[in-house]
Amino acid sequence: MKSQMTQVQLEKKATEIRQDIIRMLEHAGSGHSAGPLGLADIFTALYFNVLKYDAKKPNWHDRDLLLLSNGHCVPVQYATMAHAGYFERKELMTLRKFGSRLQGHPERVKLPGIETTSGPLGSGLSQAAGMAYTMQYIDHTPHRWVYVVMGDGELNEGNIWEAAMFAGKNKLQNLIGIVDRNNIQIDGNTEQVMPLESLRAKWEAFGWHVQEVDGHNIESIIDACSMARAIVEKPSLIIAHTIPGKGVDFMEYDYHWHGAPPNSTQAKEALKKLRTLGGKIRSEHE
């Protein structure tokens, strides 16, 4: 449920989540580092302020829905869910292991609290749109919201734009998309692989209300979500500008960390960097 954590407490939480991501990935020996680290502040904002949910009753009927469309970033969601009380933190060390509920890419039927199965890119927005359509036009539940986190590389997928058109047409005001604009994808920088700009204009042309925020400023993320909920007659998109690998300087901005985990030396170094991260991010925003 929503907490009354202060900004400083939220930032500390984000750092703890980053530390767990590093530990999980090192232990798993495979997985994606850059995206999850870059999304830690967004997931902290979502689970510790924005979303309405009950970690002990993951299927509570009136909860907000959060979909992770770019399923490869799921370590950040697992880590945040553990901190939010869905399950014990020690289970995080089962990531990607045989028999684990924490699959390499999220599976709804395996872990309560995961709203959909994802990994193949481009399908989360459509599902979120189907949920928001049902809320708005069939079930008439205006007090619920659907949040969907997408990667920027994922926006190469045609399925995304089919959904963007559908949401715009139907003015899905309960739908809030968050794009992790970290400018990298597997083969390199997004603007070299397949240019996305002018990204804001594209979404606006599809009938969306668009905001751009610093994806590492938790206060800004919370404010943008609040603004998105206040917008009616349009779906909302938040372009969250993030730094891939945020918090671990040797991973930051480097697309080679998209799909690689740290080894034990790198993990030790990363955890050392993260011990002092809270204050560093704070000072960047002041």
Partner: protein, 326 residues
């Protein structure tokens, strides 16, 4: 035959015919009346997939998706997450032809009861040509875990199948044909998902058929009866899960089997039967269907004859099969 309440005069030239998709349209309307959780989504083909009946009756539960088949099934998956029972329709060539991965991940692996209804399947689509004659849909859908695959034999059965799929709580594929197909079942003929039905008992040869080819199998059985060959016809409207027990019981009696389908035999219904019998009760077998090639433009009957998908062709094939075995 009466046990299954089939029509009396199979093979008559004035048998009533109707496109199988019409039965789907009526079934969906009825499902919508019986359960308000039933919703319908279409990709710009509302009239020809017969979703229009539902749309007129329940405009608030109908969603127009436009020509976007990936969005079609994924929006449906989102609606299923909200407790709805979404039926999606398009031509089979496009759905499941274009959106297979979305069906795999967001319906099957995600275990959401998305209903994929593929109309205009098979060679009998006719003049539109090979691009629109979907022949690989059975293969595509039956390899997916959790997926149920149904190809009704006529419009009356399609109506029952639609109602059954509205209640089965599983991702499902319903295969429909465009052209009028002779109606050989009646309202009283039983239909259950997962059941095959022995439409005609016989001792010399089993012909197992699905979809539009079941009627052709009945015609073939009649022709062969005139030649002194006693054929057992097994109708398999459910391709997955396949009713293996009924098929094994039949071939235990006859010792040989021909399958018939209006689809690629590679990976299709004939392959499903072959896989099952190879494991449980291997017998000599021949598969009738499209043999690793595409169709082309033409009138439906012309194409069915050209590709050997009529009762007469099945009968000829049965003769050569039996001659080989003799």
């Amino acid at each position: 035959m009466n046990k299954l309440h089939l029509i009396e005069d199979i093979g008559s030239s004035d048998i009533a015919s109707e496109p199988i998709r019409k039965g789907f349209g009526r079934g969906l309307l009825q499902a919508g009346k019986e359960n308000e959780q039933v919703v319908a989504l279409c990709a710009d083909l509302t009239e020809s997939t017969q979703m229009s009946l539902f749309k007129e009756a329940f405009p608030d539960r109908f969603v127009e998706i436009g020509v976007a088949e990936q969005n079609l099934v994924t929006v449906a998956s989102g609606m299923a997450a909200m407790g709805k029972i979404p039926f999606t329709s398009s031509y089979a060539a496009f759905s499941p032809g274009r959106n297979w991965e979305q069906i795999r991940t967001t319906a099957c692996l995600n275990d959401r009861p998305v209903k994929v209804v593929g109309s205009h399947a098979g060679i009998s689509v006719g003049p539109d040509g090979a691009t629109h004659q979907m022949l690989e849909d059975i293969a595509l859908m039956r390899v997916l875990p959790n997926m149920v695959v149904i190809a009704p034999g006529d419009s009356v059965e399609a109506q029952k199948a639609t109602l059954a799929l509205a209640a089965n709580n599983k991702p499902s594929y319903l295969r429909l044909a465009r052209e009028a197909t002779p109606i050989f079942t009646t309202a009283r003929t039983p239909f259950e998902i997962g059941r095959a039905y022995v439409l005609r008992e016989g001792s010399d040869l089993t012909i197992a058929a699905t979809g539009t080819m079941t009627y052709q199998a009945l015609v073939a059985a009649k022709i062969l009866a005139g030649d002194g060959i006693d054929v057992e016809v097994v109708h398999c409207p459910t391709i997955k899960p396949l009713d293996v027990a009924t098929l094994v019981a039949s071939v235990t009696k006859t010792g040989k089997i021909i399958t018939a389908e209006e689809a690629q035999i590679n990976g299709g219904f004939g392959s499903a039967v072959a896989e099952a019998l190879m494991e449980h009760h291997p017998v000599p077998m021949r598969r009738i269907g499209m043999r690793d090639r595409f169709g082309e433009s033409g009138e439906p009957n012309e194409l069915l004859k050209h590709f050997g998908l009529t009762g007469t062709h099945i009968a000829l094939s049965a003769h050569s099969f039996l001659d080989e075995l003799a």
